[in-house]
Amino acid sequence: MIRFTLNGARVSLDAPPTTSLTTLLRETLSATGTKLGCAIGRCGACMVLLDGQAVNSCLVMAFQAEGRQITTIEGVDQIAIGPALKQGLTQANAFQCGYCAPGVVMTLAALFTNDPNADEASITAALTGNLCRCTGYHSILRGALQARALIQALP
């Protein structure tokens, strides 16, 4: 039995200990907001927060999730900056097909929570592991900067 906290709710389930967290989310729990793009940590579509840090959920094995706090895109509004982050990215039309979007949102959620003033260099460094095939990244950067402005204006 593996137990962890998912978006504030306690979860316990049976799974082989080496099952990836992405598989637990998408297959066992049908929480499909987290996307599967490569399964080897090379695209970032599956990014979640593990104890507040953005990690590739495909590289987290079930036994490593034991006792941890996991936040997925479904729980992003529980993060203080979550709604403003989403609003900025939405207004800027940051994405096209949108399959990379949940991973990008989770990466930026962790970044801006830690540093609401993150500069463009920090934003690009944080997004190193998030591949997007549609946009060429400029719209994502514009969205991140727009989101940062909204986050900085939060009370």
Partner: protein, 984 residues
């Protein structure tokens, strides 16, 4: 695989002494190894919680606990070491991996930095220097100490296959005080110090390094390249100085203000609630998996599925024996089996499929299917494939297509002052959509079948599937939208046939989503091309003659590759007038995967060759690139390449002027140069294929104005485009419009979402439906409100009085829908040329692309500083979509040019997943990008906006190539450009 979680190091050591065990710290490296086929251990012994974490400093010595994450070390500001960490993997991985784990793995980019820092390990077997431990690992690593003198000058550089997040080609590390510590390593390079070089005189250092560095070849880079760049980086000061930005483009599109609308699907995409077809889940849904060929070319002797069928939880196993209709598909001709019966021709060929209660069971069942093969000789090269003695993949041999033309005098080269001849090679580019192929199929209560898989033309998918399933097309409902990127790679059938067969046999809904590795192996790619081009001009610079000989590698099956070759040849003269032309195109079958449609569709490959030839001839004549092009540019009244009359609104001369006026030419610096190329892109399918389109506008019961259109939303912005064109004409709000797309059960056939045809189709649909729809709506509203005809107008949300400026409707659309629901349907042809002697395009769009690049003199790597895309494609339908298409296309063009290629060796993919297929990361993006749009049309031009799906990618490659040539004097003729060829 099981996991043991010891509670003490002694217990861990005991466990690890047992056979079949493997220690795991963060586990990130292990999982990558497993994905590459390294044998799984029987038992993992978790070291979590047993090893020290934390970083402390004593003078020049840094002590790091083995369980410290790579991320923590990166942020500890340890000279050299933290910089090295920032180049390892990506942040999400560095937060999981540990420093002890990366050393324990025995490879990786960090080790050279540790070696020059004189790293000492503390292990359960006692203290040991790092080199000793690497030679003979013993015990578990507890902590390490590195020594970085405070006044030391540090050298760190990782050279990979792209700007960041890449496998290492080679890494170099150095610590310079009064002595010199140097090391190399990374990827396949054995990590080692370089003692001879460390004591060499400064004058002898470079030569000593070249002699001392030992590095292997790999499929991506040569040993020589590795040694040369490492020697350069360790012996020469960093030569890169900051680049001064150019003057901004005053007329660049800006992503805000007028015309900027939030896409209707954006909020759901950002929230993760957007309904991708591969996310669909219903109770009791089975999970499907496909068994792929074990060989690139083999006879199938027998297929035994008995053990798989007997596995508890398996609900259906299908093979070729379960195909009731034609066991073949292909958009142009049907040469690819839905499930192979007697022969496999590439490693992605589907042989069987399984549906089971869950993914693990389906996966397990695949391993229980026994196929006996007799391997056949593998055809790996398109040239050799056409040799008479080559093994034939298909009954008609390996030549899939041959076409070409001769116009004018083939001997005109005799009168030339300058002739340039070269062969340009282009990559097997992968579409790389983030959502791999997949979706679900579900038998319906009425006996019909719903198949919901991301695609680009539902009506054609239905036609293909009806043939395979031996069902009437009206027994199939095909949903193709939305999908997470396509770019041509979902134009052909992907997983639909096996998925449908599983659902029919299991009589249950089945979902199926390809793993990335399977998508890489099975999906169509861009056909690699070798384009030999010979181009001549006279002494004044006027083009006289051109010969083009194109050979493309189709891989195993045709799909749309014959049309790609044909399209490439139609673009063989680019936008230039060449009186004497000979073209020949051949498409050969090999066992190198399989190819098909990809954004650009042959035109961008041909533009690479043409636009390089033009710059080379310009140089030969002593003309600048703009002047030479101006001299040879086609005029608005000239016919097309095949002699066809073209649609009006040629904007080539305006685009050329924009290039001439570009601020990029003057913004130069060391290692920096600018190049240009023109875009001339045909749109639509051409004269010969059926190119019908249509759609319906109707008022829905809830008061939304629905636009039903069979095109597909793949991310390009079909939904905002439909909202824009309809709402503008009706005078209502964008939000009054509800697009319904990509569903043969609901939407009229609109043709394929390919060939830059969507923009025109959307606009024309609005042109044809909105006048009658508005009339019917207003007639109904007048009747309803007992007003005279002509007294009302449509407004946001409903109808208003023509004489009123009020924003509030006097009758809402929802109210009107209670009594009246007007519906207007239109069907039309995509405009065609008057030429049927060959497949000719009618509507062309123009552009100019300029790239300002910088070459790293030490590594030969190219980075794009500025990319300017001047476009002329008629009125912009939706600003965000337009900008997105140009920027995104340009990014794929940059990948094609600099980093992307799928390699095969003996018919097996070398490039198996995204760890070795190098799509651009955010660090690879052009540092700045600017797009302009000339929206004008000639007076009376009836064709409206042109689609812009392929304009962005069209001329990026030659623009970069021409910039490279300015720096090196040589034109790169192999894409992706090899840094080795660009080293000084």
């Amino acid at each position: 695989m099981q996991v043991w979680q010891p509670t003490s190091l002694d217990q861990a050591a005991l466990m690890l002494s047992q056979p079949g065990t493997k220690a795991i710290a963060g586990g990130t490296a292990l999982q990558l190894d497993w994905a590459r086929g390294v044998t799984l251990p029987h038992t993992l012994v978790s070291l979590t919680g047993l090893l020290p974490t934390g970083i402390s400093q004593t003078g020049d010595h840094w002590h790091i606990g083995a369980a410290t994450t790579l991320d923590a070390v990166e942020h500890a500001e340890i000279p050299l070491i933290s910089a090295a960490l920032a180049d390892i993997a990506a942040p999400g991985i560095r937060r999981l991996g540990t420093i002890g784990g990366t050393i324990g793995w025995g490879a990786g980019c960090l080790i050279p930095a540790l070696l020059v820092g004189d790293c000492q390990l503390e292990t359960t077997a006692g203290p040991t220097p790092l080199p000793g431990w690497l030679a003979e690992p013993n015990g578990l690593i507890l902590s390490l100490t590195v020594t970085i003198p405070q006044n030391a000058q540090t050298i760190w550089r990782k050279v990979g296959l792209r700007a960041a997040f890449s496998p290492a080609i080679i890494v170099v590390a150095g610590l310079i005080t009064d002595t010199r510590a140097l090391a190399t390593g990374g990827g396949p390079v054995r990590p080692t110090r370089l003692p001879k070089s460390e004591t060499a005189t400064p004058a002898a250092l470079h030569a000593t390094l070249l002699h001392e560095i030992s590095a292997p070849d790999c499929p991506f880079r040569t040993a020589t390249y590795r040694a040369r760049v490492a020697a350069n980086l360790l012996s020469r000061p960093d030569k890169i100085s900051p680049a001064i930005p150019p003057e901004p483009l005053p007329n660049a599109l800006t992503p805000d203000g007028h015309g900027w609308h939030t896409r209707p699907d954006m909020a759901a995409k950002v929230a993760g609630t957007f309904p991708f077809l591969t996310d669909h889940r219903v109770p009791d849904m089975l999970v499907g998996r496909i068994l792929r060929a074990a060989h690139p070319h083999a006879r199938i002797l027998s297929i035994d599925t008995a053990r798989a069928e007997a596995l508890p939880g398996v609900r259906a196993v299908v093979t070729h024996r379960d195909v009731p209709g034609l066991n073949a598909f292909g958009i142009m001709w049907q040469d690819q089996p839905a499930l192979c019966a007697d022969t496999v021709r590439y490693t992605g060929d589907a042989v069987a499929a399984v549906a089971a209660v869950d993914a693990a069971t389906a996966e397990a069942a695949l391993h229980l299917i026994h196929i006996a093969y007799a391997p056949l000789p593998v055809v790996t090269d398109p040239e050799q494939a056409l040799h008479p003695d080559a093994p034939a993949l298909h009954p008609n041999g390996n030549l899939a297509t041959r076409l070409g033309l001769t116009r004018g005098d083939p001997n005109a080269f005799a009168h030339a002052a300058h002739i340039i001849e070269d062969t340009y090679q282009t990559p097997r580019q992968m579409h790389g959509f983030l959502e791999t192929e997949g979706g679900y199929a579900a038998p319906q209560p009425d006996g019909s079948l719903l198949i919901a898989v991301g695609g680009q033309h539902g009506a054609r998918d239905r036609q293909q599937l009806a043939r395979i399933l031996n069902l009437a097309p009206d027994r199939l409902r095909i949903i193709t939208s939305p999908t997470g990127g396509a770019f041509g790679g979902k134009d052909e059938l992907t997983v639909q046939a096996p998925l449908a067969l599983l659902a029919l046999k299991a009589r249950a809904p089945v979902r199926l989503h390809l793993s990335r590795a399977e998508s890489v192996a099975a999906g169509t790619k861009r056909a690699p091309m070798r384009i030999r081009m010979r181009t001549a001009c006279d002494a004044t610079g006027r083009l006289i003659a051109q010969e083009v000989d194109l050979l493309a590698d189709a891989g195993a099956y045709a799909s749309l590759s014959p049309a790609v070759v044909e399209t490439a040849l139609e673009h063989a003269a680019g936008p230039y007038l060449i009186p004497n032309v000979t073209t020949r195109g051949r498409l050969a079958h090999t066992n190198n995967g399989t190819c098909g449609a990809f954004r650009g569709f042959g035109a961008n490959q041909m533009a690479y060759a043409v636009e390089c030839q033009i710059d080379r001839l310009a140089r030969a004549c002593g003309l600048d690139p703009v002047a030479f092009r101006r001299l040879n540019l086609r005029g608005p009244d000239d016919t097309g390449f095949l002699g066809q009359t073209l649609a009006p609104s040629d904007r080539l001369s305006q685009m050329l002027q924009a290039a001439a006026d570009s601020p990029l030419w003057s913004a130069q610096g060391p290692g920096i140069a600018t190049g240009m190329a023109l875009n001339w892109q045909g749109t639509g399918l051409g004269t010969l294929p059926d190119d019908r389109a249509g759609g319906t506008l109707r008022l829905a019961p809830d008061g939304k104005i629905e636009v039903l259109c069979g095109l597909d939303e793949m991310g390009q912005g079909l939904l905002p485009g439909l909202q824009a064109v309809i709402s503008t004409r009706l005078g209502c709000a964008r939000t009054d419009i509800r697009p319904v797309v990509g569903d043969t059960g609901l939407t009229p056939n609109a043709g394929s979402t390919t060939a830059s045809r969507g923009g025109y189709v959307v606009w024309r649909l609005a042109e044809l439906t909105t006048p009658d729809f508005a009339r019917d709506m207003l007639t109904a509203a007048c009747r309803r409100l007992s007003r005279p005809d002509g007294s009302l107008r449509l407004c946001p949300g409903g109808v208003a009085e023509t004489t009123s400026n009020s924003a509030t409707p006097i009758l809402t659309f929802a109210d009107l829908a209670q009594t009246d629901r007007p519906t207007i349907t239109a069907a039309f042809d995509f405009p065609k040329a008057n030429h049927t002697g060959g497949n000719a395009r009618f509507i062309f769009e123009s552009g100019a692309t300029l790239a300002r690049i910088r070459r790293d003199p030490l590594t030969g790597e190219i980075r794009i500083l500025d990319l300017h895309l001047h476009t002329a494609a008629g009125p912009v339908i939706d600003l965000a979509s337009y900008l997105g298409q140009i920027e995104g296309g340009a990014s794929q063009g940059a990948g094609f040019t600099l980093t992307e290629d799928m390699l095969y060796r003996n018919g097996h993919p070398v490039t198996a997943n995204l760890d070795t297929y190098m799509m651009p990361t955010i660090h690879d993006r052009p540092h700045r990008i600017a797009v302009t749009a000339d929206e004008s049309l000639d007076p009376g031009d009836p064709y409206g906006p042109r689609g812009v799906g392929e304009l962005g990618i069209g001329a990026v490659t030659p623009a970069i190539a021409n910039a490279v040539a300015t720096l090196t004097g040589r034109w790169p003729t192999i894409a992706p450009f090899q840094p080795e060829a660009l080293l000084q």
